[in-house]
Each structure stands twice: as structure tokens, then as C-alpha cells.
Point group: none
Chain length 144, copies 2
DNA sequence: GGGAGTAGTGGGAGAAAGTGGGAAGAAGAA
DNA sequence: TTCTTCTTCCCACTTTCTCCCACTACTCCC
């Protein structure tokens, strides 16, 4: 179970260190994809396989599912965690998530999320304000 | 599984480099054909065989399926990846996809797509804006 | 409080990938 | 047949990437 948030930096070679505590669980090969809310998702390879299988099952005939699988598949890359525990973030993903130097790496159950620090702050602050509203919704669906 | 996007150039001899990471999987012989959404599809030969079979299996009675398989089959050419990992794009396909110098090569599961860089940008930006639709789709296929 | 070990960051060297150009061969026209 | 043009194959250069090593800071344990 991946939990917690960490502050790291991306160097000019586009490398980000995976927090040491996550490395064992996430494995050596990972897949980085475009995520929601302008962040990046990092999946362990096995986890990605499941997502990819479902995506490849979608029909190519319809324009919207075609665009969707393009978005997810072309927007993903398989990469290896190097000997120092870092992964490479290609330019197009860096741009997509507007990553500057400082990033936040968050563990969300079975994936990691990579956020630009400023956006993360903004996002969490907004969520905090709505915490009571969210709690109620979660209550309604029976989480609490 | 072919995933990721890469920026390459077409030289004046109409050659495009296949990203090194794709070469092993895509093999030596490939088929390039007119794709959907104004891009080109590049299939490994074996994969193309399946697509072609499926196309020829379509009912010839209906005018629209007839013209669709004509669109795919007539526009297809078989070509070899040269020793430097490049393929030749004939003029009619280059024109069809409005390819200028800068192109994007995207891996979409079992095929590559070649896009003019400007069109690709336009296309992906349009998709990104539909975040709510994306989230719903992701939910449907069980990513969350 | 001090030392050892681990995590995060930065840099350098060697290797590989991408791109451009030239030469040789094939095809077509005069 | 010969000349020209277009194509294809090969070589070389430049840039980018990748792997490895080193330094610093922080933490944990003695």
C-alpha cells in the first residue's frame, strides 16, 4: 500500500527520485501516464497491464474511444527505475503536468502521483476547504 | 505493447526514423496505410494481416463498408525498415496526413501512428479539455 | 553527541540514437 | 547505347541519453 507525500526535485536531465520507501513495492519497471487533474500517474508494470488490456479491448471504430485510447496509450511510457532509484520523465509528460523543479510525489493506494509543487498546494488547499462536503458524500456512499 | 510519443523529422528524401524502442517489436517489414483522424497507421506485417483479413471479411454489399476497406487497403504500402531504423513515406501518404518536417510518432498498442506535429498538438489539447469525459471512461474500464 | 549508513542530488564519460549527405546502382528517356 | 534522374544503401557527424561515480545532508543507532 503506497501512502504519504514527498517533496523531490527534477534535475535538468528530467530525472526524479522515487521515495526510497516506495521502491520495493513499485518494482523495477514502471509505467508513467497522463493522469487526471494535471498530474502524472506512476503504475507498477503489472498494474498497468490490467489497464492496458482493458484499453485494447475498446473499439477503434468510434471516434471518442479512439481518442481516449490514444490519450492513454500514447501518453504513457514504460521506464526503468535506475540504480539510484530514479525514473526518467519525458518532455511531453513534464509539459503535460507543468512540472517545474519542485514536485510532490504522493502514494495513492496502488499508484504514485507526481504533481508540480505549486499545483499540489493549490489542489490540497481547495480540497481541505471542501472537506466537510466531501465527508458527507463519502458518508452517503458508505465509506465512513 | 507499443506506447509513448516521440518527435522526429522527415528529411527531404521522405525518410522517418522509427523510435529505437519500437524497432524490436515492430520488426523489419511494416505496412503503412491511411489512418483515421488524418494520421498514418504503421502496422507490423503480421498485425496488418489480421487487420486486412477483418477488412475483407466486411460485407461488400454495403457501400460504406466497401469504401472504408478501399480507403484502408488501397492506401496501404509495404515497406522495409532500413539499416538505420528508418522507413520511407511515399508522397501520397505524406500529403494525406499533411506531414511537414516535424512529425509525432505515437505507439498505440499494436500499431504506430504518424502525425504532423501541429495536428497532433491540436488533437491532444482538444482531448485534454474533456477531463470529465476522461474520468468517466477511466471509471468505466475500472482504473479507479 | 558522534559516527556510520542511507537517501537525494549533481556531474562526467562513454554509448547510442537521430539526421544529413554522398556514392553507387537502377530505371527511364532520348 | 548513353545520358540523366531518381532511388537506395552506407557512412559520418552531432546531439542526446544512460550509466556510473561522488558529494552532501539527514537520520538512526550506539
Amino acid at each position: 500500500m503506497l501512502i504519504g507525500e514527498y517533496r523531490h526535485t527534477i534535475d535538468d536531465k528530467r530525472r526524479v527520485a522515487i521515495p526510497a520507501g516506495f521502491r520495493k513495492e513499485i518494482g523495477k519497471k514502471v509505467v508513467v501516464t497522463r493522469g487526471l487533474d494535471n498530474c502524472l500517474f506512476v503504475y507498477p508494470l503489472a498494474m498497468w497491464q490490467k489497464v492496458a488490456d482493458r484499453l485494447s479491448g475498446l473499439s477503434m471504430g468510434q471516434a471518442d474511444t479512439r481518442s481516449f485510447s490514444r490519450f492513454m496509450l500514447a501518453g504513457a511510457i514504460e521506464t526503468e527505475v535506475d540504480s539510484m532509484g530514479r525514473i526518467l520523465v519525458p518532455d511531453f509528460l513534464k509539459d503535460f503536468a507543468s512540472l517545474k523543479q519542485k514536485v510532490v510525489i504522493a502514494g495513492i493506494h496502488d499508484r504514485l502521483e507526481i504533481w508540480d509543487e505549486a499545483r499540489w498546494k493549490e489542489h490540497t488547499e481547495r480540497i481541505e476547504k471542501q472537506a466537510d462536503v466531501l465527508a458527507q458524500k463519502l458518508g452517503e456512499i458508505g465509506v465512513f
